[in-house]
């Protein structure tokens, strides 16, 4: 049994102008002790996918279809109370930009302790002891439990967030750009920490990022998202070295290569599509230099192009 399986997830946002199909038919899975990377441009639905897993969408957002199976149990079918018991205990989230993810008027230690008191039924004293252990684990001076978020540096806040995410020994941690806005040294520290912890407690990790170097470093599998859909997914080597979708290809080329010439990387022409009225056919066709009539009218399905390697392109691989 897979640790987590997301099947045909559809999350739409109701706006005044109409339905925004932020996540449209997304399927992916995660095994114990593995890291799944979700990559794509801003607004492609990465974060919405993550929030949908624990059903944490804002009031305008609704999951209109699909299943989220955590060890075989569909989270969508759970009552609000049962789902609350699973949140953080089984699936915790390290939010994007930990700058605002911590409550500014509450001591950091208490923000971690409160979750232990809720799920593990610890007393305040026990929870604080455990919080100090967690601080040690993420290499923050344990005296800092009584400090407020503004007394922490950016990297420390992010590590405190990770400590919080680890508090109840969850089965899955979702890292929503956990290293964005941090300098490379801190970034490396945090990634190492996540990888180490993942191996130690055999949990699954979903890493949302638009930083390809992060992906290459610690992911086992990668899913590339474009305009609310997964356009390619597979093992990290396949995605990096044997990509079959033009968008993945463009994404890889947009990233500077330290061994290559010193030139400005290619950008992908055009803008991400408007999800109120997504393009017909293949959603990437207006920006794809290989697109033809067929791409404009017929939507390509995810098709197996290799062992556990899927791509949604009519010309899978042959465009190069």
């Amino acid at each position: 049994m897979e640790l987590l399986e997301v099947r045909n997830l559809k999350t739409y946002f109701k706006t005044q102008k109409g339905m925004v199909k932020a996540v449209d038919d997304v399927s992916c899975s995660l095994s114990y002790g593995k890291v799944l990377g979700l990559v794509g441009e801003s607004g492609c639905g990465k974060t919405t996918t993550a929030l949908s897993i624990a059903n944490l969408l804002p009031p305008e957002g609704r999951i209109v279809g699909g299943e989220v199976l955590l060890e075989g149990e569909d989270l969508m079918g759970l009552s609000a109370g049962k789902l609350r018991k699973k949140r953080w205990k089984e699936v915790s989230i390290v939010f994007q930009g930990a700058m605002n993810a911590l409550n500014p008027v509450m001591k950091v230690g208490l923000q971690i302790a409160e979750v232990l008191m809720l799920h593990d039924k610890l007393t305040y004293e026990q929870a604080m002891i455990r919080t100090k252990e967690l601080f040690k684990l993420v290499e923050i001076d344990e005296e800092r439990v009584n400090q407020y978020p503004h007394e922490f540096s950016g990297g420390m806040k992010q590590r405190a967030m990770i400590a919080m995410a680890l508090a109840c020994n969850p089965k899955i941690i979702i890292g929503d750009e956990p290293t964005t806005a941090l300098d490379v040294m801190v970034q490396a520290q945090i990634l190492n920490l996540l990888e180490k912890l993942k191996n130690e407690i055999n949990m699954g990790l979903i890493l949302i990022t638009h930083d390809l170097s992060v992906l290459g470093e610690i992911c086992d599998d990668v899913a590339v998202m474009y305009a609310g859909k997964i356009v390619e997914k597979g093992k990290v080597e396949d995605i990096f070295e044997n990509h079959q979708h033009p968008y993945t290809y463009k994404l890889m080329n947009a990233f500077p290569n330290i061994y290559g010439e010193r030139k400005l990387s290619d950008s992908i022409p055009g803008n991400p599509p408007n999800l109120l009225e997504p393009p017909s056919g293949c959603r990437f066709h207006p920006r794809c230099e290989f697109a033809d009539e067929r791409c404009k009218t017929k939507e390509p399905m995810l098709a197996e192009v290799g062992h556990r390697h899927f791509a949604a392109c009519h010309y899978g691989g042959v465009f190069k």
Partner: protein, 322 residues
């Protein structure tokens, strides 16, 4: 809280009070109208009599000497004599202080509590009927002129229903069988002015609370709190409200300072013997010393209230302490 923060804030407040003293003094010197006229109330006074009076009040002295005397007397607790009441100003103000603090203070407390509760309910159920109802209520009462609202309440509760008295602190000429009976009579008199006053204030508090809370609810740490598996009640109470009360403190403190100043409109309508009413009387009678004394007291109260707000803020928001 850091001691340096407290000291800094106290010094700032003292400096402001000093500036107010100077401003307050000269404001009354440049105001139109001749103080002698108000004292004498006799247009046919002989020039000799005017001169005598000028000498008596020290009006012939140069301005800096007058100012020096004013400051000196002030530190001795002497605010001058009221023209109207022929009694020391501090004594006149003293007798009016309690009714005002009682009425406006009670109204503030009621308005703050119900305003905050209304604001929270509206923000949490944003767009639902609770929100629409509380928003309409707040906007209507906020926009209503105080004197008009007071008169309407009088016409309903006193004139039509004969439930409550219209004016004063107690029923005039009444003899009471016990202190309890007197207290009951006082409370009956207190209801209408307090109600008017708090209705006027609720809207402001409810609207501010609602808007700040709506902003706070979109913050990332609120999503974090929900992701941690907490119930809505807990998230609102422990994470959202503490963050949303910060702007409330400022506005509450500013209004609390004005409590002492009383509410001229409410006190006038209900003939409530408070500071607001006194200010109105002093103004119509051109009783400069009394007016000056009231102004000084109100400004000092506002400054003290602001100082308290700063200190509370420093206590509630850890970021301010630094």
């Amino acid at each position: 809280m850091k001691r340096s923060y407290v000291i800094k804030k106290v010094l700032q407040a003292l400096l402001t009070i000093a500036a107010i003293l100077i401003f307050n003094y000269f404001l009354f010197r440049i105001m139109p109208g001749d103080p002698l006229q108000s004292v004498m109330r006799n247009p046919k006074a002989t020039p000799e009599a005017v001169e005598r009076l000028k000498a008596l009040y020290g009006l012939n002295d140069p301005w800096y000497l007058q100012f020096w005397i004013y400051i000196k007397h002030l530190f001795q607790g002497d605010l001058g004599m009221s023209f109207l009441y022929k009694k020391p100003v501090y004594e006149v103000i003293g007798t009016r202080l309690l009714p005002t603090i009682l009425m406006v203070g009670l109204a503030e407390v009621l308005a703050i509590i119900s305003g905050i509760i209304m604001g929270i309910m509206a923000a949490v159920r944003r767009g639902k009927s609770v929100d629409v109802a509380s928003l309409s209520f707040s906007l209507i009462t906020y926009a209503m002129p105080t004197f008009w609202l007071g008169i309407i309440l009088v016409s309903i509760f006193s004139v039509s229903l004969h439930l409550l008295p219209t004016t004063g602190l107690l029923t005039p000429g009444q003899t009471y069988s016990s202190t309890f009976a007197m207290l009951a009579d006082g409370i009956r008199h207190l209801i209408l002015p307090t109600l008017t006053m708090s209705l006027v204030l609720i809207g402001e508090y409810a609207l501010l609370m609602r808007n700040t809370l709506i902003d706070v609810l979109t913050e990332d740490y609120i999503t974090t709190a929900y992701a941690k598996g907490f119930k809505e009640d807990y998230v609102i109470k422990k994470h959202a409200v503490p963050n949303a009360t910060l702007p409330m403190i400022t506005i509450i403190a500013m209004n609390l300072g004005l409590v002492i100043g009383g509410a001229i409109q409410v006190e006038t309508i209900f003939s409530w013997p408070g500071i607001g009413r006194l200010m109105y009387d002093a103004l119509t009678a051109r009783d400069y010393p009394l007016l000056q004394g009231i102004f000084l007291m109100i400004t000092v109260c506002v400054i003290i209230a602001n100082l308290l707000a700063d200190l509370t803020y420093g206590y509630l928001d850890p970021r301010v302490k630094q």
